[in-house]
Symmetry: C2
Subunit: 366 residues, 2 copies
């Protein structure tokens, strides 16, 4: 090994879900939205001209942060935009978790948290979910250097209700608490899909807790994973610190295409509401269908289900589904290695999944 | 101050050049290309469909890294793509400068280097340029934790020739050496504009030095600052380390629009050559014109000039130009606070600049 390699920061990277190029693939493995983005999004991309491309974008992405602020019922100074919520969260780890004390997050959660902690040399302690995959509030009462959890949690889909989120905040006023709400738009029933933001979101606590950062994304409910847009909402102070870090890393993170597309998406609430309602309706139907086949799961509030079956190996079902060109996600990790995470696709896609599972379960039980 | 603020990483951010929205502005302050991107770039943006937008992009941006590799005469495994060269450089600082020993770079250089070093707590020592704004090779022979310099240097425009770059590499085999070639496509005369890569580029040394990272960008010579595309070329080992860090930070940095637009740009070499030739021709003409007015400068090999005038205050000229809607860059920093950095625009834009300077100098000398 040449000497220069001794000076290199070695990192164990996150492994993203596969993106294979197979024709007629039913892709239920990365929680993408099965419906296209709002029509105005493609119009916005078509509207980009030579001057937009040749000039640096607005480093503050003001058009986008203002549109997000309006959508969230806050001011632009309360919004930070980034290259997907991963960029926002990575920058938040770097900025807010600098105390040297261990940060806390669940043992079963988004797999990037420990990767970021290791990359930035942030000590961390994971807290065990209970037997129903619930985050136990009292585990987060101890001294710590910061707290992060997704709500609904991933890959479990379990939602913590707002009084419980508030309880964690009340016990942690001296550190930054990040609620990662990538899936929050799905955390409701079909009847309340017109409420923005959803009543389950911690956005309503921003005014009360200046140490609360809520992170959301355009990747799931806005059908825009390909454009890489995430954002954080928090007190003006938190957002200023985050911007200082961003301007110390890369001033121009959001390209002109992302800014234009993001603004266009927020202009079409009717389309957004309609797609979200469809996914929630499909999710509730599929819960019933998979239950009838003997699958069990916690009551998911996200655009995926996290399922297990007493009589079936998840690993084998994963492989069997894959051979039928149905791709779901399997995590070979303690406590969840007999579960599959299944993204909610279109009704047609989900029918094919259920049909295959029905045959598979019948064969296995025969 | 609430206690949580004690845990926050405080950063002193980089200040980007202003992007004011003034009609009829002659914008010569951020080294943007005055010509639009290749026509195929806008076609590629128009060609994006709903599936591209709703799905995660290829995390490896393979289509783009393969196109860049072909352009640079290397393999795809030798290329890393990022959100502008700032993203590539920031990730490189984090990855390669982890020894704890001070890294070395010039005292007058790209203003982001010390910002990244401070953000990541990397010790650094700046080395003084000589009186002609040249990097002094022997200053880089001492023990260090890594080396970075732009070539041509910014904001001076001074090019270090390839034997001198090689000399620095030969004296620094145990650390990573980064040559930041944001402006290298302009580092030649009009006659040699068909050579890819330019003979002045350190790309030709990649095979010989596995600790050499060359960073380039689409922002300047490709007229694509708005799309945020930069890249690094180096040994397979260096690129793997960089990818590990990237996949530990944000797997999906390049959105579908950037990937598509970047690939399209590289398909049109004729357009690229033509625009680059025009800028070089204009630069050489303007050097003569400004010389006649008494301005002095080192022989810039970039798409900007870094000029001073014995009888004129740069600060005052900056303000006078601004009041005429001609925007250039002024750095209020030691040794260069009587200089202006002037981006090479179209011939028409430069004529207006020269005309104003002529009157201004005549008035000042009267």
């Amino acid at each position: 090994m040449p000497n220069w390699e001794n000076n290199v920061r070695k990192a164990v990277p996150y492994t993203p879900g596969e993106q294979p190029k197979i024709r007629d693939l039913i892709k239920l493995n990365t929680n993408e939205n099965p419906y296209p983005p709002a029509p105005g999004v493609l119009d916005a991309l078509r509207g980009l001209d030579g001057d937009s491309v040749r000039r640096y974008p607005d480093p503050a992405s003001s058009a986008l942060t203002e549109a997000i602020a309006k959508h969230c019922g806050v001011k632009a100074e309360n919004v930070f935009a980034g290259v997907g919520s991963d960029d926002v969260l990575a920058m938040s780890f770097l900025t807010f978790f600098a105390s040297g004390r261990p940060i806390l997050f669940p043992d079963i959660t988004y797999s990037f948290y420990d990767v970021w902690a290791q990359l930035f040399r942030i000590p961390f302690e994971t807290q065990k979910l209970d037997g129903d995959f619930r985050i136990v509030n009292r585990d987060y009462y101890r001294e710590n250097g910061g707290i992060i959890f997704p709500n609904p949690n991933a890959p479990t889909g379990v939602l913590k209700d707002l009084p419980e989120v508030r309880d964690i905040l009340e016990h942690n006023r001296d550190v930054v608490v990040i609620v990662d709400e990538a899936y929050i738009d799905f955390a409701r029933d079909e009847a309340s899909v017109n409420e923005h933001p959803p009543k389950t979101s911690a956005l309503s606590l921003i005014g009360e807790f200046d140490n609360l950062l809520v992170v959301q994304t355009f990747s799931k409910s806005r059908s825009m994973a390909g454009m890489r847009i995430g954002y954080a909402v928090g007190s003006g102070k938190l957002i200023r610190y985050l911007n200082d870090a961003k301007y110390s890393f890369n001033s121009y993170t959001m390209n002109q295409a992302a800014i234009a597309a993001g603004c266009a998406a927020l202009e079409d609430e009717a389309y957004f509401t309609d797609c979200t309602a469809k996914i929630i309706r499909t999710r509730e139907r599929i819960k019933k269908e998979l239950s009838l086949l003997g699958f069990t799961f916690q009551d998911s509030a996200a655009n995926f289900l996290f399922v297990t079956h007493a009589g079936i190996s998840a690993r084998k079902l994963f492989a069997a589904l894959r051979s039928e060109n149905i791709l779901v996600r399997y995590f070979d990790k303690p406590r969840i290695d007999n579960y599959l995470r299944i993204t909610i696709g279109t009704d047609d896609e989900m029918d094919k999944l259920v049909e295959f599972c029905k045959r598979y379960v019948e064969d296995a039980m025969a």
